[in-house]
Structures are given as structure tokens and as C-alpha cells.
Symmetry: C2
Subunit: 394 residues, 2 copies
Amino acid sequence: MKAVGIIAEYNPFHNGHAYHIAQAKKITGADLAVVVMSGNFVQRGEPAILDKWERTDLALQAGADLVVELPVFYAVQPGHLFAAGAVEILQALGVQDLVFGSEHPDVDFMDLAKQAQAIESEGQFTDRTQTFASAYAQQLEEKTGFTLEDPNDILAFSYAKAVLQSGKEMALHPIGRLQAGYHDQTFADDQEIASASSIRLALHKGKFDKIKNVVPEATWSALTTKPNTLDFEKPFFELLRYRLLTDTVGQLGQVYQMAEGLEHRLAGVAAAVEGPQSYQSFIKSVKTKRYTFARIQRTLLYTVLNIKVDQMQAAMADSYIRLLGFNDLGQAYLSAVKRQARLPIISRVDTGLAKANLRLDYKAGQIWQLLSGQSQVKVGQDLGRKPIYRQEGE
Amino acid sequence: MKAVGIIAEYNPFHNGHAYHIAQAKKITGADLAVVVMSGNFVQRGEPAILDKWERTDLALQAGADLVVELPVFYAVQPGHLFAAGAVEILQALGVQDLVFGSEHPDVDFMDLAKQAQAIESEGQFTDRTQTFASAYAQQLEEKTGFTLEDPNDILAFSYAKAVLQSGKEMALHPIGRLQAGYHDQTFADDQEIASASSIRLALHKGKFDKIKNVVPEATWSALTTKPNTLDFEKPFFELLRYRLLTDTVGQLGQVYQMAEGLEHRLAGVAAAVEGPQSYQSFIKSVKTKRYTFARIQRTLLYTVLNIKVDQMQAAMADSYIRLLGFNDLGQAYLSAVKRQARLPIISRVDTGLAKANLRLDYKAGQIWQLLSGQSQVKVGQDLGRKPIYRQEGE
């Protein structure tokens, strides 16, 4: 059985994602698609709109055959770690082809990664006035003539670097995106493909009719009936302020990616009378040129989740394959590769696991539920949950 | 100038408190009353209904001449530490008479304290199946024939012990209470004196008309117009659950008075799906025989305030006299004793103090404001606040 790998967030799952899965199978001639999907929090440091189970179910209904979780300690990370964590899981499952979207599908990203490695070994990344990414891109452009600036290209490049660093074979298949650009904030009424961010924006504006055209019916139904975190900013900001007011700067300084005295600035702004009254204005008032918006958001999420440097490092060194859902094909594939899997496969979480390896995902799930504003939660995100099973085409 | 000392919470200030101040001056022949009052949190581990400034103002309007804060690291403590902290402040201000309520005003509490000291030095407190207080009371009863069981008697006894241990002279004046018992939960429509706890209960039931009879008009007006924490339980429980879900048990274990693995029980109950859905039911589900309700509530408050053992110990060793308000008499007294004061006198808090000695009170003030549910706070509890000045009889 040949599997093709996809790395995704599905926040939320839309028509472009369904197309991507179909294309991935088609161009690689794969029997099934294995998806590594961010869990309850996504890379830009926000809670996923729908929880990981809903998003898994939607993916299974639209062509995915096996969905595993990208643990929070890799999902909420800068691109290179996000990519490294996802590639590690796909490789551990024996997947040897990776299909991803790119603004420049003709570029040889593996070659680009090799050129970058050469630059790195020359150690020319010393200009600290630029963000790491832009310093990188500039050097790479001088060397290759290709400008690494579009979001999917940057991610594609990260995948290539991760594969290169893994030392294992994995074929890379960039594919072009239909219509929607990653950063497009609007879409026309007759469009059937829109970017996830434009869909989120439309959701925030309550334009549910418009969204109906760009997502599968099952997504639309889930978005309108299931618990979601569309209004996460208010409760998130309350928890963040509370945390910043009650922890010492010494404690805050141990939070993952809290660097260069950021903890002092955060604590100061949080304590200010007449300080920012919303999460967005808070971010603006602590942001400096040095940090990207996403980097700040991730650090604030680590702060709310109270993830310390040592915990993050320990977790990344001890990853796993958490099964979220599969159909018969996916299950058959799992049975075939199980014995050679290079990471532990976890299908159910008990209290022991919840306190050990799984504890960051477990905590993330509980905070996701807090942020979704459900006053009474009858089922947790992890303890006792079984992977979702769906028959193909169901 | 002769001053009489009073130790109080004024939660809220009622007619019994006004009577107490008048009696205190009368029986000691004092020129003025110096009150040490709990700040924004009270001994049983709850936020004070009105903030410390409102309560100070009400006390000044009803006979107090100088009000200083009992810092949170003494205010939210078992009786013996509460008493020790308050007595230390009064003595530091040169106060040599203390008037307090008691169910048995004829008892010589200083003698009782001396008897207790003898028992202690014999080291007979080894029965760990009883709470410390009840073991104490039993031994004392065998020795003196007096049963130490009523709440004001127990507090009076704590004051006597604190004075004894201070090694400084201070005359103790127990006075009987009018009508209301400390634990009375109801009061009649024609009563003019009611216990603070029965008033709080009536407040919760929204019986504002009834309360009108038992509190000064100024209290009634403040209770109906100023920010308060009558509905603190819901936001408090949210912060508590969030804290318990995101800190490791190792971090929780460092919280002041977290003993005998309580942190594991707290974390377990907080994480349980279908666990307790209110603060009261949460307390019930973690309480064991060994701990009093107040002890548990205090520990949960330390948890929400994130006060660690080492911080508490450092703070108690470094107390201060924080001025909350005075009239001309109080100001004159302050001028007279200032030079000999045995603790630093603080009249304004700047950012330096807020980060140093005052940081626990500063943090407590910010959390009080969070719990009072004010969406936008224009004035903080500490930074830049001046003591309240009121002309006598104003």
C-alpha cells in the first residue's frame, strides 16, 4: 500500500483542502492519504476553531484515510519546528511522499534546502536586527535567485529542510493552489475555493451563507452547531492577564520562547491601569519590530498554557503518533506499518499517559474547552476518547 | 494622646462595629481609635465585599481615627498569625490598649495565654487526628476549666498569645457583643445589630431593605453603588480551575499551606470531566476532615494568588504600616509616633514598592478588581493612591 503524506491544520476544513487531498493521491498514485493535523491549537498561536475531533471527522469525510495529531509542542512552533515535528511523524509511519501547496510549484525545494544548508554551515546569520526568516531569505536569494517570501513557499522550504535533516528519503511534491492566496482576506460570492483565513474572517462577521460555497456541507454544519472558539479572545485575554498579574517575572521568564526581557514588558502592560482592554490591543502594545505577530501570539499562548522551556524540550524529544481517526484503508495501512513504526502509536489516553508524555496535549485540550465557553463539558478531549472510525465515502 | 487599638475586617462595616469603636474609646479613656483592618481579602480566604478604601472610608465616618492595612500575608492566615501580624502593627504604632469582642468578656485571656504557653512548652500537641485548634482547646480546658470554643473567644485568645509572645506590654479589654452572635445567620426586622456573616447572607439574597436597619447609611449606600465582589465565586472558580489545569503539581506543591499532597487532589478534581461545577461544590469535593473549611478556602486563595511558601515567609518577616486613612486626630497621632514607629510607614505606593515589599498586597488588589467584575478599571488599588482624609464627624 502506498501512502501519501499531508501536513495540515484544517482550520476550518474547506474545499481547497478536499481538492488538495484528491490531488495528492492522484499525482503520487497513492492508495491512501495520511494527514498529520495540528491538534487543538494552531501554528499562529490560537485555538483551532473546531476541536481536533470535529476537524478529523470532516477530513475523513472528504478524502483523508488516516489522521494523526501533530502534538501541541510541534504544532505551535515556528515553521522549521512545525515542519520537523510533522515530517518526523510521517516518516515514523513509513510515508515516503509528501504533497504540499506552494506559490511556486516548479521550484525544487530540496535543492533550495541544500543551498540553505551550505549558507548555514558558512555561519552567516549574524545580523540580529532582522528576523531570522528575512535574514535567511536574503542570503538565499543572493545565492539562488529565488525569493522565498510567500507563506506556502516558506512552509514548503521548511518541509524540505526537515526532510534533509532527517537523513531519510522522502519525495516532495509541491502543487499549485487554486484561486485563493494564503493571505487573501476576501472572496467573491461565486468562488468555491477560499483561504482558511478569509473563511475565519467571514465567520467572525457572521457571513455563514457566503461560507456555504467554500466549505463542504459537513464543515458548514459543524461550524454552526458544534462548540467552537470563534469568541476565544475575551476569555483568553482574561486568563492571560490573570497569569501575568499573579506569576512573578521570574516564573514568567521560564516560559518557552520568553526572551530578552519580554516577561517584564508583558507584566508591566498587564498591570497598567487603563492598559489595553482587548487581546488585539494588548498584542499591539507589547509587540516590537523584532518579533513577528505570530511569534508574540505563540509566546502568549505558551504563557497561558504555562509551558516552560524544560517541559517543551523534554516533550519534543519524546514525540508520538496519536491516532485521531481512520477509515478501513487507514486502518489496514496502520496494521501494515505498526511493527516498524519508529514512534510509539497511541490510540487511547489513560490517566497515566495524561500525566506523562501526553500532558501538554492533555492540558491544551482542557484549555481549548475552557476557551470554547462551554459551561459544562460532558466529554473531555483526551481521556478515554477513541479514534474516530468512518467507512470510506460515508 | 492615648490611642486604643482595634483589629477588624469590616466586611461590611455595620452598627455593631460603630458601637465597638465608641465603647473602645469609652472604656479605655482613649483620645482616638487606631484600626488595623484586613485589606482586600479577609481571613476566611475570600475577597472583602467592598475594597479596602471604601471600608476605610466607612470606618472613618463611624468613629475610627486612623486606619492601617493588615497586609494580605497576615490577613489571610490562621488566627494565630492574623493576630500576631495585627498586634505587631499596633505595637509598632505605640498603641498599648487593645479592645476586642468576646463571648466571655470576664475571662482573663492573658492568663489563659500563659497557661497555654505552659502546655506548649510541655509539648503535648501530638494527636494529629485532631485539628490543632481543637487539640489545644481540650488541653486548655483540662488545665483551666474554661472551654475555648466560641469564635470571638478564640480570636481573643490569639491576641493574648500574640501580645505575650511580643514581649511588649499591651492591656487587653474584652467587651461583650450586642445581640448578634458571630455565627448567627439571620436577624429580625427590628434588630439594629446583626453579625457581618448574616449581613453578607442577606446581601446575597438581595434583601437590601432589611440590611438598611443594621448598617450605617453610608455602608448601605456603598453596598448598593460601589464595585463589590458579591458574585466573586464564579470568576474565582474559573481562575482557580485554570490555575489547577495549567500548573504542574510540582508548581502547585510550592503554594503556601499546600500540604500532604493536597495539590494532587486539587489538580485531579479540577481536571475531572463532569467534576464540580461551582466553587462551593469544588471545596466540598476536596475537603477532608483534617482541614477546616476556612483553611481550604485560604489555600485555594493562595493558589489563585499564586503565593509560594518562600514569598509568604519573606513577606511576614518584612511587615509595614500601610496608611489607608485618617482624620485630624489620627494625623496628629501619626506625627507624634512617627519617629519611634518600629515598622516602616507607607503612605504611597510607587512602582518600586509594588515590585518589592508591597507586591503581595499589590497583586491581591489587582485580583480583587478582577473578581469584582469591573470591565474597565480606571483607578488601581495601590499605585498612586493617597490615604483617605476625612474631617472628624464628616
